[in-house]
């Protein structure tokens, strides 16, 4: 009984999350369409409860950006080296000093730094293929997540009503697995035609000041193996549940 109630509550949570995700996708699609058609500015912050900031949706098109730097082997206090980051890993006893230098610990020291983040983009209202691509892929990704959450909700609802070993549960597990693997394989292919490189965007930087940002791969990456593995696991779980359905049938038809 407790298990059934837990399934039912979790099912409603998953279904509510699915509706919320689909709603977020619809709002982002609407703001994208408004901006791309030139009807108005891109709205990167949408309040779903007007007049309050209780339920707020933030989305701004972006692309992966990286910064990498060497760490100086020592800090010259009089003439800091501009070609590397003047930081050292300090130990419990503090930095070693050999004037005019600050030296790192002998046994452990930082050699390089790598930072990853997003380059937020803004555009004037009107058609822009890259902005359209970024909006479309975001909305598509959200719809896939909403679909998966809906499947999970329906699966749990079915499990809460009957025994968990039913054909419906098996079917939903398979649909979720195939969707996850399919999306992870399809996404890089779509980025082939929708990435900044596909629209001939590059990165030009002048001077040697700043953080030394570089656009992350201008080409799409491959599928995320972790998610593909999760999809495969769901398919495997579907097989296990199919065996469970068979055993449940045997049990039910044994008098």
């Amino acid at each position: 009984m407790r298990r059934t109630r837990t399934f039912a509550v979790t099912a409603w949570v998953a279904l509510a999350a699915a509706v919320g995700t689909a709603l977020a996708g619809a709002v982002i699609a609407a703001t994208g369409i408004i901006g791309l058609t030139g009807w108005g500015d891109y709205d990167h912050r949408v309040s779903l409860l007007p007049g309050t900031d209780l339920v707020e949706l933030r989305y701004q098109p972006s692309w992966e950006v990286r910064a990498a730097a060497e760490v100086c082997p020592r800090i010259d206090l009089d003439h800091p080296d501009r070609s590397c980051e003047n930081v050292i890993l300090r130990g419990a006893d503090g930095p070693r000093q050999e004037k005019p230098y600050l030296l790192p610990e002998e046994d452990l020291r930082a050699v390089a730094a790598e930072l990853e983040g997003r380059l937020l983009l803004d555009a004037e209202p009107g058609w822009n293929p890259l902005v359209a691509s970024l909006y479309a892929m975001t909305v598509l990704g959200l719809l896939v997540v909403a679909f998966l959450l809906a499947q999970l909700g329906l699966l749990l609802r079915a499990a809460s009503r009957d025994a968990p070993f039913t054909d419906q549960v098996v079917r939903r597990l398979r649909v979720m697995g195939v969707t996850l693997i399919g999306w992870e394989l399809l996404e890089p292919i779509l980025w082939l035609f929708l990435s900044p490189k596909a629209w001939d965007y590059g990165f030009v930087r002048a001077g040697d000041q700043g953080m030394g940002l570089e656009l992350g791969s201008m080409e799409p990456g491959g599928p995320q193996l972790t998610l593909v593995a999760v999809g495969a696991l769901l398919l495997l779980l579907g097989q296990v549940f199919r065996r469970g359905v068979h055993l449940e049938d045997e049990q039910r038809l044994t008098v």
Partner: protein
């Protein structure tokens, strides 16, 4: 399956209803119905024992092997 269930014949002979038998052997009517209609995949010896005790019959009176290609027999 080549096993025919003759429970309905025995019940008719004993002038007993399925519900009455279900009450006596402590099995639900739904489960006995599965057995009677031949949908059951397996029968527990305990069930067979209880039914035979209440109907005063032998297991062979309830279960009859019929060849699959016997005339008039359709496979399920």
């Amino acid at each position: 399956m080549a096993i025919d269930i003759r429970l309905d014949h025995v019940l008719l002979d004993r002038r007993m209803t399925l519900t009455e038998l279900a009450d006596r052997v402590g099995i639900t009517v739904a489960n006995l119905s599965i057995l009677k209609t031949g949908k059951a995949r397996a029968v527990r010896l305990a069930t067979l024992d209880a039914i035979c005790r209440e109907l005063d019959c032998q297991p062979g009176d309830l279960l009859v092997h019929v060849a699959d290609d016997a005339p008039g027999r359709t496979s399920r």
